[in-house]
């Protein structure tokens, strides 16, 4: 991984984050305003990405929709990485039955049907819960379900570090276990955690997109990349002749770009940590 590519990825993500943060000022129209006399309009100076099938400005929806993906997906990734770090460190440091318990819990979590849990969560949320609350709950659950895979990596790393010479030396000198964890183990697994974070973010962005495609993501009329992608549903001619209506692909392109940027950063991080 080259530095310029990493910088480019960072710059692009920064640009997207700025666009999402400034959506209230940058968007040409409110994201939910329906102009029922201008349905499915092509791009124009007034609406640079045209309007959707309900006459809503696509660019405004794209800018607001980016907030969901760019704020909540990293938050969910943070939750899962923190949980993975805590449980992985616990199992790795204490070893024995603790290690086996964490490994088994990770296996169990990986075998849980995540979609059904999300459906169950959605069905118990108050119906008048705000869109943001409903989203926060969904992403928190995604984050909590996502701890298992990174925890396995952390567990393996701690196990390896636990038996390394410098940790054995520290232990021989009578250094306390908590100090070994804080000074010797955590700094060594930090790059792994960062890489896991960067791997998790695009996974959560895609998870939201998948939920959106199923109609179980962000409630109407709040936009997200997932529900914006649904506009392509039932329009195979747009897929076969993408140049005729390129504006329909804006959310897909943004999603792909964001996922690639995070993966580029994750790749660079993984290389530097190994």
């Amino acid at each position: 991984m080259t530095q310029p590519l990493q910088r480019l990825a960072l710059a692009f993500l920064g640009l997207m984050a700025l666009g999402a943060a400034g959506a209230d000022w940058l968007a040409p129209a409110p994201y939910d305003l329906q102009n029922r006399e201008a349905l499915g309009e092509p791009p124009s100076s007034k609406a640079p990405l045209g309007t959707d099938e309900l006459g809503r400005d696509r660019l405004s929806r794209l800018l607001h929709g980016s907030r969901v993906s760019l704020v909540l997906a990293p938050t969910a990734a943070l939750i899962s990485v923190f949980a993975a770090a805590a449980l992985g460190a616990l199992g790795g440091c204490l070893g024995g039955r603790w290690e086996r318990a964490v490994a088994s819990a990770a296996d169990l979590t990986l075998s849980l049907p995540g979609l059904f849990l999300l459906l169950a969560l959605r069905s118990v949320l108050p119906l008048n819960a705000s869109a943001w609350l409903s989203l926060a709950a969904t992403f928190t659950l995604l984050g909590l379900l996502g701890w298992a895979a990174p925890a396995r990596v952390v567990l393996a790393s701690i196990r390896r570090l636990r038996d390394s010479d410098f940790v054995l030396a520290a232990r021989a000198r009578g250094v306390a276990e908590w100090r070994i964890l804080a000074v010797h183990l955590v700094p060594n697994v930090r790059p792994i955690l960062a890489a896991q974070f960067l791997v998790a973010v695009p996974a959560f962005i895609l998870a939201e997109a998948n939920l959106g495609m199923l109609g179980l993501g962000v409630p109407e009329s709040m936009p997200s990349w997932g529900n914006l992608l649904r506009e392509l549903e039932g329009q195979p001619e747009a897929l076969t002749r993408p140049l005729e209506r390129p504006e329909l692909f804006a959310p897909a392109l943004l999603l792909i770009a964001a996922v690639l940027c995070f993966q580029a950063l994750a790749g660079a991080r993984t290389e530097s940590s190994t």
Binding site: L33, Q34, E53, L54, S123, L127, G215, L216, E220
Partner: protein
Amino acid sequence: MNFLLALLLTGRLQAAATAGPQSGGELRFAIQAEPRSLDPHLVSDEPSGIARLLSGGSLVRIDHVTQKPEPELARSWKVEAGGRRIVFQLREGVSFSNGTPFTAEDVAFTLRRLADPNLHSSVADGFRSSSGAAQAEVLGKYSVAVRFPSATPNSERLFDVVTIVSAAAPTDPRAVLGPFFLEEHKAGSYLLYKRNPHYWKKDGLGRPLPYLASVRVEIQRNREMELMKYRRGELNLIQNLDPESFRRLSAEPKGGAIDLGVSLDSEMIWFNQVASAPLPDYKKAWFTSRDFRLAVSEAINRGDIARIIYKGHATPAPGPVSPANLQWYLSALRPPPRSPQAALERLRKAGFSLTGGVLRDSGGHPVEFSIITNAGNRNRERMASLIQQDLSGLGIKVNVTTLDFPSLIERIGKTWQYEACLLGVIISDLDPNAQMNLWMSSSSTHQWNPGQKKPATPWEAEIDRLMQAQSQEPNALRRKAAFDRVQQIVVDQAPFVYLVYTNSLVAISPAVRNVRPGVMRPSAIWNIEQLALDEAAR
């Protein structure tokens, strides 16, 4: 438009007749789910209904175009004793597909089987009442009488869905009276039906029906895949097209897309009026207020729903019965004209006030409610979005929540944890008796306030009385008058806010001959024994 459509269809029929339908070939179409049951007496879903239609023979069949009952296995019938008894004269020389003869004993056995409480047949509902179940009496080898516990108007229509089974082999799929028998069933994949060699019907030239050698019913949940297969010629027809697919097929020269006009189905919203629902009292007061419901109804732009969501293939709906129901439609009903001003005025009179763009009730509570609908139904989600904006003009905040279907059913049918619901109703039986469960206040499917011990409102009491009266009234005009009044009450009180009647959209390959599509479901294959494929298709 309808006249032109009729001409076109007639033209197609005539062309087919002069060419002479050819026997043979396999008709292919898709259903969206596995039939819940292949027992014709346990049909409770559309796929099972299609399976029943392919292999089941009945005494009477409703013509899906004229909506009138036509003789099938019964040559004729006579209603006696003021609608308490019906006597059928059966066709002679008819055999089941396994070669055993069909007699009045089979009809009597079928009725006894339906009446068996252990079978739990919903088909039998029309044959039961609080005073008992219908009884069949064999009068001769080809004559049978059915006695109802009370006067049952239009009783012959009930027999359209009663598949006559063999008394000797009631559950044998190879002993049927329909045009096809089930040859092979691969769960989740397809059902293959073969021509019944003993089928009794002949065409005008005396040739045996059905023309088709087999029918393959694919189980295809993905509508996009169904459309793709149809375009490739792997399927011969699509029933119940969505407006977007219809638009795409209409643009193709051999797309075969046909808009049959207004269907029997409608889309609607309703508010939760269940007294014990876990809702704040002030919200219950809104939802039980006629003015509130009517104001919501007046604020919704039905024309936009028809134009934007259904691409013009829908009609604003005033009430429960669509114009497609030729006998029971009440033409005097009109959808309320869209008028946010009138809606606001109505709300003001009812104690609501609009301040700072927010509607508040007399207690100062901002008016906000949620509409639930089933996830994955794009049209409903977008309809809810339009309603959201329409009502925001009154200062009402609407939250749209999509739920998976089981969760939605749990809320509207068990826990009452919802405020408003947007769903559609599919009508497969034209007679109001089939809607008793919906309108009777004591019914568990009286959706806005089910299972009432006694009617909660005077107008629900009146609906109860009228529905009871029409169900026992042998005089057709008096029945119509009673049900007209029910429709008028429903429009005046708006327990259901009807939005649109959707059009019946189908796609039929030009290779399929003798199609007589009607708006009743299934629209394109109801006369399956008459359908043929032209030489090229075979």
